[in-house]
Every structure is written in structure tokens, then in C-alpha cells.
Subunit: 303 residues, 2 copies
């Protein structure tokens, strides 16, 4: 994409990251009561890092429907809290057993396993507490809708189900996975939450059903492109850029888009999906340009 679009998108992503970070900081518990260790672990793992792509999707989709800044930022924070909790739990020794996250020791390495489990649990509860609070939207029907959709996207038939599939795939070995199976896995594991991030703006703005479905179609394709690039980076990336350990999937003998499709086909599939994602946004015209640029970013990112 042209340099000016790149700059515009970079600026929007930084703005989203900075403003959601400040909102999260205010929403997280603090203090020096006895249980403060779990507050610290929640802050350690949810603040100070990450691309905040999910927050960007909320803010950018909310802009399409003229949603206020506070509702959008609170909703974005809730989604980032769920994302942070999932990373804490995924990194646990019983799960992916990862020592490094966002360039720092993972939560259970910095604190301990029990604290990490509890910090994840509390971040999940906090996400729903934030969404249900009247500051998130004046209409309680919108708040209840956001809660219901986030719960579905992150539960057994969404993100958690995807992580279960991922663990089982690892047990069974890479050769058992078809492209259909890995697509379904990723649609649940990362796609559901990304999809909700884009739908959230439409829910907050009480948009029409077709508008919301167009955004979810965009998110669906983009989520898959995002995951393919993640798999490419696991093979091609380095630890400094990634902030996490690369090559883990290969070492674990895990089926990935790259192991099934090969580097070249995976790369072209990601590009195709990103263009397809952007095409879903045509009905919105120029106001959706930022989201279209996000599709480009997803496939060109280095970390």
C-alpha cells in the first residue's frame, strides 16, 4: 500500500494501543491489600505490550457507526483482558509451556503457576464486569448483547474450544490434520475473538444486521490471514522481533498452515484472504479505509 496509507494506519494503531492501554490501566484493580499479588499479575500480563489489534478493530468499527470514545475504549479493554487471560493460560506448563511472552517472562515464570491461573481467571471476570457497567453503554440491551457475544466467542464453542482442538492436534500428531480441520481450529481459537472485535462496533452503534454481517465476514477472512501469518512468522521470525519463542510449532511437530500448505502457498493464501477481507467492506465506502489498511498490515507484519 502507498506510504501515506501506511503512516495513517500506523498512527491509528498506535493511537488505539495508547488509548486502550490508559483505559485498561484505570479499569484494572490496584492497591496494597493482601491479595494485591493477583492485581500485579493481572497488570503485568495485560499492560505494556501487544499490538492491540483487537482494540484497533473495536475502535475502527465503532467509528463507522459514530460510537462515542468511552464505550468503544471500554469494550476494547474488555476484549484485550480476555485476550490477555487466554495468553496467560495458554503459556502455562500444562498447556503450551512457554517461558516468554511479549519479550518478557510469561506470567507463571514472573510470578508462579497458581498466581498465573488466578490472574487469568480474574481478567476474564473483569472483562464481563466492564461490559456490564453502565459507563459502557447507556442502553442495557446493548451491554447484555456485548456480554452474550463475548461469552460465546471466548467459551467452549469459541476460543476455549479452539485451544482444546489445538492441544488434541498436538497429541495426535501433525499428519492427522486436514486443511479443513486446521481452519476450523483457528476460526475458533483466534477467529472468534477477532470477529467479535469487529462486530462490537456494530453492536455498540446498533447497526443493521447486513452491516454487522459484512464486518464479521471481513473479520472471518482477516482472522484466518492473521493466523497464517502467525504460522509463517513462527518459521521465519526471530525472537527479538516476535517477543516470543519462534520455531515452537515445528519443534512440537504441530500441524500449521505452513506445514500443510508449504511456505509459498501459505503466503499467497494469506494475501488472498486479506484482499477478500477488504472486499467485504466495499459497502461502507471511504470510512472503512482504515479497516482495509488493517488487512494489508496483517499480512505484511514482521511480528
Amino acid at each position: 500500500m502507498p506510504l501515506s496509507s501506511h503512516r495513517q494506519f500506523d498512527a491509528a494503531l498506535s493511537f488505539a494501543a495508547d488509548s486502550v492501554e490508559r483505559t485498561m490501566d484505570r479499569l484494572l484493580p490496584s492497591g496494597d491489600s493482601g491479595e494485591a499479588r493477583v492485581f500485579e499479575a493481572m497488570r503485568y500480563s495485560s499492560l505494556g505490550g501487544g499490538k492491540r489489534l483487537r482494540a484497533f478493530f473495536v475502535l475502527a468499527s465503532a467509528t463507522l457507526f459514530k460510537v462515542g470514545k468511552i464505550p468503544a475504549l471500554r469494550t476494547a479493554s474488555a476484549i484485550e483482558f480476555v485476550h490477555a487471560y487466554s495468553l496467560i493460560h495458554d503459556d502455562l506448563p500444562a498447556m503450551d509451556d512457554d517461558d516468554l511472552r511479549r519479550g518478557k517472562p510469561s506470567c507463571h515464570r514472573q510470578f508462579d503457576e497458581a498466581t498465573a491461573i488466578l490472574a487469568g481467571d480474574a481478567l476474564q471476570a473483569l472483562a464481563f464486569e466492564v461490559l456490564a457497567h453502565e459507563d459502557t453503554h447507556g442502553d442495557p440491551a446493548v451491554r447484555a448483547h456485548l456480554v452474550a457475544e463475548l461469552a460465546k466467542a471466548s467459551g467452549a464453542q469459541g476460543m476455549v474450544g479452539g485451544q482444546m482442538l489445538d492441544l488434541l492436534a498436538e497429541e495426535q500428531g501433525a499428519e492427522q490434520m486436514s486443511i479443513g480441520a486446521i481452519t476450523r481450529l483457528q476460526r475458533l481459537k483466534t477467529g472468534a475473538l477477532i470477529s467479535f472485535s469487529c462486530a462490537a462496533g456494530a453492536i455498540l452503534g446498533k447497526a443493521s444486521e447486513p452491516m454487522r454481517l459484512a464486518l464479521q465476514a471481513y473479520a472471518h477472512d482477516l482472522g484466518l490471514a492473521f493466523q497464517i501469518v502467525d504460522d509463517l512468522l513462527d518459521v521465519e521470525g526471530n525472537v527479538v522481533e516476535l517477543g516470543k519463542t519462534p520455531g515452537k510449532d515445528v519443534a512440537a511437530g504441530k500441524a500449521t498452515f505452513v506445514s500443510i500448505l508449504g511456505l509459498e502457498r501459505a503466503r499467497s493464501q494469506a494475501g488472498l484472504l486479506a484482499r477478500q477481507a477488504a472486499a467485504h467492506l466495499e459497502p461502507f465506502g471511504p470510512p472503512a479505509d482504515l479497516l482495509k489498511q488493517a488487512a494489508n498490515f496483517v499480512v505484511s507484519r514482521r511480528a
Copy 2:
């Protein structure tokens, strides 16, 4: 209490247990998709056991305000899902490391640690999904209120905070705990969710503030009595009646109400709190008799 009250209360508790069990069964995911292992673990740990005291509190408090059966049962199910998730995570090797729960292998023993972590995570999400669904209440403000209060009761400043305190107390050793500190610990760890169970009926019934506060005062005292009896049973109970390993607190050198107060004072303190709890219900008159009997049950139970 007289035998007839005993029978009436037993019948009400069985009724609550049976009907919430059927509701939970319908609300839990099932099927044979790839991720079904996590559905099975969720069902294994949330169905087929437990006193369902929290469900009883929701149903009994809902009755005071003529709340319909479906809203009460769905709300009760949501709370039991949160309770079940907390037991799964508390039993994990990194936490209390318990092999036995409700007379069966604990979730991570029956399945594995990763599945147990995920089942707990998904049960928490399911609780909020159920509360936010329109079948739980026709008024979305009530649904959003239930979500907000459950999130607070179960999060870092409620149940999770209490479990953090409990783990830290174990590290520090029993001699460091004062009666004030252990009361606060238990108020967070078990009291917050029990308190919400009693408040839920008032929220569902849009009861007046004083009514709701009276129920929460009742729940506050009863929650403490409940915990003291738990500590007594840990010393005096046996594994068959309890369905979990007794003597663990003593073995772990944990501070409990019994270790601080001694058996006799702990027993009389539990009785005092139960009577105090019942006294908060005077304004409700005879319709609150069942809840008063529950206070009696809590201190006379053997498991």
C-alpha cells in the same frame, strides 16, 4: 429445629438440586465435535453432585419476590457454573493439589491438567453467557445487573482474591493469621458468591434496596458460618461423608477458624452467626422461613 422443618428444608434443597441439575444439563454444551473433550470435562465437574446450596439460595430468595421459575433456575445455574469452575481450578496441582472432589477423581485427575484449566475457563464464560441471554430476564437492565454483580463477586476483588489470600496464607504459615485476616479471606473466597446467590433473587425481582441489603446481611453471616463448619468438618469429618480428603488443612499447616479459635469456640461462633443470619430475615416474615431453616442446616450439616 423441629423435625417437620427439617423435612421441609430437606425437600426444598433436593428440589433445588434436582431442578438446577436439569437446567444446567440443558445449558451445557454437548456433541461429538473435535473439542468435545472440554464439553465432557465441563459436564463431569458441574453435574451430578454437590449440595447446590447456592442454587437453593437463589431459588429461595427469588420466591420472596415472586420471580418466575426459569429466570431463577438459569441464574442459579450460572452461579453453580462459577462455583464448579472455581473448584476445578482450586484442585489443580499448582493450587490445592487435590485428587478427590465430590467422591470422584478431581477434573485434572479424570482428564488432564490442560483440559481442567480449559473446562474451568469455559464454565466461567458459560455463566455470563447464560445470565446475559434474554431467557434469563425480559428486562436487559436486570441481566446486565446480574452480570456485573456476578463478575464482581467472582473476580479479583471477590472469590479469586480470596483464593489468592488463601494461597499466600499457606506460604506464610498459620501463625501469621489473625481472626480478622481469616474472616476477610473467607468473606472473599466463599462469602462473595454466597452473598450474590441471595442477592440474585432480589435483583431478579427488582426488590427495594433495604430488602436486598437484608438478604446480603443474612448471606454475609451465613457464609462465614458455612466456612467455619467447613473447617470443623475438615477436622472431624471422614472421607466418605465429605467426598473429599479431610484433614488437608491441618496437614498443610493452614490457618483455619478451628486452628485459631479451637473446636469449641469455632462451633459456638458458627451457631451464633447462623442465628444472627436468620435474624436479618425478620422483616420478611413467614415467607422467609425456608431461608431461616437453611441457616440451621448450614451449622448442622455433616458434609
